[in-house]
């Protein structure tokens, strides 16, 4: 009933599922990192490096970063369409925020690469 053109061709069901799917990964990652912080007696650089040296942790971290980017993309589109009504301004803010979300992924990828 609301035309696709009015919502940047966003698909309600796909967004709804994607938000939840990415939220699960982000939540699991947050719990895991919290677990690491609370269980390690002292968190030195070698220990920290050791955690991220495993392939599993690299993939998990990258998956979490990509999930955050997708989650941000959908979530902020929803927030911005609620609160920012002028289309040009909204498009501008969305562009900048999406770029920042992408930058997080890119920086995270290079950091993981270096470990």
């Amino acid at each position: 009933m609301v035309t696709n053109q009015a919502s940047m061709k966003r698909n309600g069901i796909q967004d709804w599922v994607s938000l939840r799917a990415t939220a699960i990964i982000i939540a699991l990652y947050s719990f895991y990192i919290a677990f690491v912080f609370f269980t390690a007696p002292t968190l030195t650089y070698p220990i920290w490096q050791g955690i991220f040296a495993s392939l599993f942790m690299k993939v998990f971290t990258f998956a979490a970063l990509v999930s955050i980017m997708l989650h941000v993309r959908i979530g902020l589109w929803q927030v911005l369409t609620d609160y920012v009504k002028p289309a040009g301004l909204r498009a501008g803010i969305q562009y900048v925020l999406n770029l920042i979300a992408f930058a997080y992924v890119a920086v995270g990828l290079f950091v993981l690469w270096g470990v």
């Binding site: 009933m1 609301v2 035309t3 009015a6 919502s7 309600g12 069901i13 967004d15 929803q78």
Partner: protein, 236 residues
Amino acid sequence: MQLNFSIYRYNPEIDDAPRMQEYSLEVEEGQDMMVLDALIALKETDPTLSFRRSCREGVCGSDGMNMNGKNGLACITPLSALGKGKIIVRPLPGLPVVRDLVVDMTQFYTQYEKIKPFLINDDNHPPSREFIQMPEERAKLDGLYECILCACCSSSCPSFWWNPDKFIGPAGLLHAYRFLIDSRDTATDERLNDLDDAFSVFRCHGIMNCVSVCPKGLNPTKAIGQIKSMLLQRAV
């Protein structure tokens, strides 16, 4: 005993801006009454005070308003339920004010119209007398058909405040589910097609203000969840 009220006043023909007007009402010690009865008594002294009311017993849904920050029907909200302090009465939030506590419900009804709130049956052989339902099919309509369209829920929903032109709102969606789940309705697919976009249903983020204010004790959030899962099941 003196009861104090602060009531939203705005007459666009005279006033530049809305204001809150103080009123007080003398009642017998220990006497309780509904907010609507108090408003009617106040109108005796100030006939310019405007509000809608009709059945005065929670059936017609005319006197939805915001009392001490919560939407409800004035006719079934006792003053005692609003605490001991001053009672603040405002019109339903988010809808344009026509005058004082009277709001323009066009946006609300436009969304209601969109969901085709009537039974659609394109069966070539309709029964000659009545549509028979099994008791369990009929039971599915409980908790849905009771809605009186008072707009307390939709006007308490932030998603409806921000997108009243695109989001159907809890009342409309409760009715949409009432027809989606009706065994006699054959337009389920068309109805779901109409709701399948990023705004009509999916602007509901489940904050449940609708459930908290519904004067009939209904649960629009649950109905919206059912519509979402119907849309999802169709898509996968």
